[in-house]
Amino acid sequence: MKKFRILFYSLIITTVFIGCDEEDLDLAPISQLTTGNFYQSSIQIDQALTGAYSSLNSLYDEMMIRAAIWRGDNSSQTQGYANNLELNISQYNENAGSQVSTDIWNTCYSIINRVNIVIQKSEDIEDYAQKQSHIAQARFLRALMYYELVRHFGDVPLVLKPVGLEESFTVGRTALAEVYAFVTSEFEAISNPSAGLSSNQNDKGRPTIYSANGMAAKAYIQQGNYTSAKPHLKSIIDSGKFSMQSDYAELFKESNDNGPHVVFSIQYDKTVAGMGNGQPQQVPKMAAEVPLNGVTRKQMVSDDLWFSYETGDLRRDLTIQNGWTSTEDGEFVADDRFWIKYAKNNSPATFQEWGVDIPIVRYTDVKMLYAEILNSESYPSAEAFSILNEVRTRAGLADLTSTELSSQSSFLDAIINERRFEFAGESNRWWDLLRTGKDEVVLSAFALSAYPYSSVKRLFGIPEAEILKVNDPSILSQNPGY
């Protein structure tokens, strides 16, 4: 018996000093959050959702700008690029390994994954007041990412829940039409107030039902579907909650962020390190015209754009800096033009932290698209002319009438042309050219003979790294021309 007592005591000692069972082996860190101890409450779902938003900052102040502006006719084909990689984009010579397209792909899928986790994990939590709203915001972000992916890459993998390690090697591309269908159906679904998005335009920074309507319309129009787009645009206009600013200079002031002229924008804040807008810093180094004088890259404006402005267009000098003074030697560098739209009238916290937001859907955009649709329905449309001239008046330009624009197609040309100046330095131009099929004519004329445009470049190549990782063309194929 004594022997068993000894055994018994030694077991007690073991148990007392280190209570040992298999639960000891389930350790989650205290200093860090992990997937093991996060997503447990409604607050954490909200924080995870904010985590998904946070990557929008770098996506839209740098990557999307590179992809959309450098490729159009608003940006110089030769000047202002730090390296060949950047230059290749503007010269329609990028390959599938391009860092620009790879970054967009990676960031979009990173956000999609975060959103998918939010949606999945929120289902494990009991109902709470903002649950619908959280899920609807998550769906908005996901649809926005697929909208970006489908128009940049065409057919892309459509993943709607978190993808595991092994499964990821089997995920193939979904056809462009199907991805667009998903995008538009999602935006449409969450544009219904019952889905959970706010219908209050004052819910600053988060997507509202109007943001969803605006994106649904843009996604339809990108496919050339005016009919389906129209009711979404109309509902924004009819809400009465939005107005175009009367002064173009006010549109890009930090103080007017989230004003009634904005339907959806990416939010930047210069007071918190890492949350600022880096776009305005892309100016010549030591340009005295820009507070804190920029850094290295000069995103140069094309001569074609500069000389295309109508005389008296107020927007030109609010968008483009024509020449600059060096803080180094005081010399003025003439004929060197760069974007100043976001930097003008704003001041940064550091050279790369600006507070001004980047609009994705401006009310002006909504109205102009609406005018475009009205024009397609009947010519001449008084409402369409009225919208066009409202924009022109704000720009300090004379009205256009059916005398100058004597046909349906000349109105369309005029409004696309107007959009070029109205949205110069924003991302719309490249997409307008693609959706109207004007890209081949316009860009072939614009491109220097050494760097010709080819319609193959309407889509980026699927990032080479992804192709190599899956290493099976029957699952992940490459776009033509890459």
Binding site: T14, C20, P29, L33, F38, A48, G51, S54, D203, V272
Partner: protein
């Protein structure tokens, strides 16, 4: 020597066993048969030192005694009896009573190796019965060369272990690798260190003088008892324990002086000027003050200015003893090693206590505690580097500047020192300012405690249960203070102070059942273990700027700005079951089977538990008649083993969970806190697993006194955890996964011989030889080369991928050189693709950072009371990108820093094929010599082969007559020279490591005198 003291402890333990023998009964029986007489005498070692505790036995009987404190013995024996004298560490001696001329016996050093016991982890085994690859060094070897860190004593003394110095700073740690590298990350290929049964303790916390044995478990069949922690080999450190008997007191101490040694000569100001006087070429030029020094033959030896002769000393006192049932030991030690660089030093205070008691026949308890306090003062990170960089034309003291320029006057004197030393370089500031403790101090202070308590109970005869509870804790505080005049503050920025506190602790509970039994020819020794291990690591840090007064890191609250702060905790736990059976048949055929099952918190559900099996066989051929008939071998044993073990270091805590990190997003001007997943969790990750086969041969010859061991092994470490690419539909680019493989194979030889033993003279040697070949077998994503990470299938784990240096373009090769835009005197780089251009396509594997082989040779000479020994160590085949040449300590391609005068520069009259012409620069890339990147990098990869006489030691032990008058049992005086000779072609401070970074000290030659006294 303390070693002898311990031998006496061990023999007392043996003696203890005799207590159970009915001694009297035995005497009565023998009395009937033979006429008895009393035999008495004194037993000494070869130098006449009395040996207490020697076991004296009448052969073939149970009758025996042991020598007393002064070596005296007295025993009843008959004329026809044989007496045997045995003592651990000495060879047994036998005399026939009737023929003995004297009963004063001198025992010869040496031992019957086969009877020695090695530790196997959770148990021990006689070498005779060992089946795995385990090597042991004992206290004599560990202490012989007086290392400050015990790890140094393994260098060249254990085959298969490569020990490498990492810095010359006082008290610095050593790198230890057992049988090559199992991982690309050095931190993940370190052996498990077990101190007195406690895993994860630090070998550097232990005073080498307190160590009884260091056992090194090399092959996987041996380390399999440690399962998931065995992959990198295991080092078992055992401290000295008490033994029953009279109290034994010993003192070991030495005092020595370190002086700088083996430093390459540096250029004089004149030599420097002659090389770089062409200002148009080199740009920097010489200031008026420098010209003054050059013209007046003034050269400043900055290395000399920042260093001193330093002191190294050690004092260790120990007391041990005990009664029949209770034994104890206490020791206290203090070591001090000063740095050659002024104000740098290392000190350690160690206190050790142990007590063991047999409470009843079957019940035993024990407690040990080992407490250490370490203090490292490392001073400035820049002292040596700035001293190397400062041109010899510089002027350290402000008053000596006779031609001040603007830079000097603007700054004025700092104390009596010149900040920029009259040199035109804002990156090099006066190193004398760096070594001023008012300017720069760094200190790491730590306290550690290793404690163990155990209860052992004999449940049944042969079956023992042992419960042991161990705790290790280490509290460490680092502090750093940089004043305004340090290099990093450049005389204009305010002082900074910071501190980091770490607390590491772990707890182990081991329950062990052990069973030992002999049935006829069958012997079984079985062990079963249930063990729980938990470890916690906490840290806290704060850094501030703008300290108003010199408070080091002790008043950080006064700093105007807090620059950093934080705290962290990580923990992990392992639960284990282990079983081991040693089976022997007839003592000839030996089998060991081991299995360990470990469950670990680092791994994800479903993969937490892993099993690590091993098996080993041994064949004692020398017990076979056909071998005995040869008459050549005293011992001959063949061994073979296979085992699988895991690498616990390969997965950090929580690595199979996705971390969530903090982000922000702004909602209409209101910044909101967000959290987002920043890595893809791979729950499928398992331990890196090493699979190893080992073949061993142990032999000892009877014809000459030579014994040894030869081992061959091949180990494949599979499931290497590397970043693998993953499709972005997961949201991530890469994930940790088990994808790589590394192979190590090698040969180890250890030889022990008595070369000469004649009269009072004896010469013995121990040689170890270690050759390992490491290569990458598989990389992530099926790649054969990963240039970014410098990993190549088929090449060494530390492959160097660079430009191949092909010597110097010589006169007569003008046309060939011109094809590359070069001229004679410039560096020739191999044009791999023959395109007559040298660019990144011309890179290749130029060498590796692991040795081909290492060897250590220890020689020991004894003559009467004198002893002499020396140790030689060599390492071959390892390369470094020589920091002495590549810009860290001096850029040999520019006029910026001082450099060695030993560089064999090419000149038209000196067709050197090793270094370029400094006038034309190395060539390629740029005419600007400071930028000869490609070619200079190619030149810097050099073999760092060396042979070192690590120490020469000579001692004298007082003869026994004097000893008895002094009342001591041993008194040895000795002198030692450490690091007297280094033979190498590698131009550097110390070829053993790539000396030439910042934060280092200079190599030293140490002369010390010491004493070993036993009372």
């Amino acid at each position: 020597m303390t070693s002898k003291l311990n031998k006496s402890k061990i023999i007392n333990m043996k003696q203890f066993n005799y207590k159970i023998v009915p001694l009297v009964f035995a005497l009565i029986i023998t009395n009937f048969v033979y006429a008895q007489r009393t035999v008495s005498g004194i037993v000494t070692d070869e130098s006449g030192v009395p040996l207490p505790g020697v076991n004296v036995l009448v052969k073939g009987t149970e009758s025996g005694t042991s020598t007393d404190f002064d070596g005296n013995y007295s025993i009843e024996a008959s004329e026809s009896d044989f007496l045997t004298f045995s003592f651990v560490g000495f060879l047994d001696k036998e005399i026939e009573v009737s023929k003995a001329e004297s009963f004063n016996i001198s025992l010869e050093m040496g031992s019957d190796e086969l009877e020695e016991v090695v530790l196997t982890g959770y148990g021990s085994i006689k070498k005779r019965d060992l089946t795995g690859a385990i090597a042991q060094i004992k206290t004599e070897v560990i202490q012989r060369a007086n290392p400050i860190q015990a790890a140094a004593s393994l260098q060249g003394q254990v085959a298969g272990v490569v020990v490498t110095k990492t810095k010359s700073r006082p008290g610095n740690d050593f790198d230890i690798n057992i049988r090559g590298l199992n991982n690309f990350d050095d931190e993940k290929t370190r052996p498990l260190v077990v101190v007195d049964g406690i895993m994860g303790a630090n070998i550097n916390d232990i005073n080498p003088g307190d160590i009884q044995t260091i056992d090194v478990l090399k092959d996987a069949s041996s380390t399999a008892v440690y399962g998931a922690r065995g992959a990198n080999g295991v080092i078992i450190v055992t401290t000295k324990k008490g033994a029953s008997g009279k109290p034994s007191v010993s003192y070991n101490g030495y005092y020595g002086v370190k002086t700088k040694a083996h430093i390459p000569d540096l250029l004089s100001s004149k030599q420097f000027y002659e090389l770089y006087k062409n200002e148009d070429r080199f740009g920097r030029g010489f200031t008026a003050q420098e010209m003054y020094n050059i013209n007046n033959g003034i050269t400043t030896d900055f290395l000399d200015l920042v260093t001193r002769d330093a002191i190294q000393q050690n004092h260790t006192i120990s007391v041990s003893g005990g009664s029949d049932s209770t034994t104890y030991n206490f020791s206290a030690g203090k070591q001090l090693e000063e740095g050659l660089v002024s104000n740098a030093d290392y000190g350690r205070l160690s206190l050790n206590a142990g007590i063991e008691s047999k409470v009843s026949d079957k019940f035993k308890v024990g407690f040990t505690a080992y407490v250490t306090e370490n203090e490292r003062n490392w001073g400035s990170t820049e002292a040596v580097r700035s001293a190397m960089r400062a041109r010899p034309t510089g002027t350290p003291y402000f008053d000596n500047i006779v031609e001040p320029n603007k830079r000097d006057t603007n700054f004025g004197p700092v104390g009596d020192l010149a900040f920029y030393m009259g040199i035109n370089d804002s990156q090099v500031i006066n190193p004398l300012i760096e070594i001023d403790p008012d300017n720069f101090q760094r200190q790491r202070k730590s306290n550690s405690m290793i404690a163990n308590v155990y209860l052992e109970y004999e449940l049944f005869p042969d079956l023992k249960l042992k419960t042991s509870y161990s705790a290790y804790t280490n509290n460490q505080r680092e502090g750093e203070f940089r004043g305004t005049y340090t290099k990093s503050r450049k005389g204009s920025r305010s002082p900074i102070g910071s501190t980091i506190q770490n607390k590491a602790s772990n707890y182990t509970v081991d329950n062990t059942l052990s069973y030992t039994k002999q049935f006829g020819k069958h012997s079984i020794d079985a062990t079963a273990l249930f063990s729980v291990f938990e470890e916690y690591n906490e840290s806290m840090n704060i850094g501030v700027e703008d300290l108003p007064y010199s408070s080091l890191w002790h008043s950080l609250g006064t700093g105007a700005t807090v620059t950093s702060y934080g705290s962290n905790l990580t923990d992990y736990s392992i639960v284990s079951y282990m079983g081991r059976v040693n089976y022997g048949f007839d003592g000839k055929y030996l089998i060991t089977i081991t299995g360990r099952r470990d469950g670990a918190s680092q791994l994800a559900d479903g993969n937490k538990w892993a099993f690590f099996p091993s098996a080993a066989i041994g064949w004692r051929m020398s017990d076979e008649s056909f071998v005995q008939e040869l008459g050549v071998f005293d011992n001959l044993k063949l061994r073979a083993s296979y085992g699988e073990v895991g690498n616990n270091a390969s997965i950090s805590p929580y690595a199979t969970q996705s971390n969530i990190f903090q982000t922000f997003y702004d909602f209409g001007g209101n910044p909101a806190l967000g959290y987002t997943i920043n890595s893809l969790a791979n729950q499928g990750v398992v331990w890196e697993r090493s699979k190893e086969i080992n073949f061993g041969l142990d032999f000892s010859l009877s014809i000459i006194k030579l014994s040894g061991t030869v081992e061959y092994y091949k180990r494949n470490t599979e499931d290497l955890i590397l970043d693998d690419k993953v499709p972005n539909s997961t949201g991530f680019n890469n994930v940790l996964d088990n994808v790589g493989e590394i192979e190590n194979s090698g040969i180890e030889v250890s030889l022990n011989s008595v070369n000469l033993s004649k009269g009072d003279f004896k010469w013995s040697s121990n040689l170890t030889f270690t050759a390992n070949d490491d290569k990458v077998v598989k990389l992530a994503g099926g790649l054969t080369e990963d240039i970014g990470n410098k990993r190549f299938v088929g090449e060494s784990v530390r492959a160097y991928y660079s430009y191949k240096f092909e010597g110097i373009w010589q006169l007569g090769q003008e046309a060939e050189a011109a094809e590359f835009g070069q001229e004679p005197g410039q560096i020739r780089i191999r044009d791999l693709n023959g395109d007559k251009k040298i660019n990144s396509d011309d890179r290749m594997i130029v060498g590796k950072g692991t040795p081909d082989w290492t060897a250590g040779l220890r020689n020991q000479f004894n003559y009467k009371n004198w002893d002499m020994s020396f140790f030689v160590y060599t390492r071959q085949g390892q390369m470094y990108s020589n920091a002495f040449l590549n810009g860290t300590y001096g850029d040999i391609a520019s006029d910026r820093y001082n450099r060695s005068a030993d560089i064999d520069y090419w000149t038209p009259d000196n067709p050197s094929n090793t270094y370029f012409n400094p006038v034309t620069g190395p060539g390629l890339n740029s005419k600007n010599e400071s930028k000869g990147g490609t070619s200079r990098v190619g030149l810097s990869y050099q073999l760092a082969d060396f042979v070192r006489i690590s120490d020469v030691t000579m001692g004298y032990s007082l003869p026994s007559q004097i000893l008895s008058e002094l009342g001591v049992s041993r008194f040895r005086l000795y002198g030692q020279v450490q690091n007297p000779f280094v033979f190498t072609d590698f131009l550097s401070f110390d070829p053993e490591y790539n000396s030439g970074g910042n934060d280092d000290d200079l190599p030293a030659l140490t002369v010390l005198f010491g004493v070993n006294i036993n009372f």
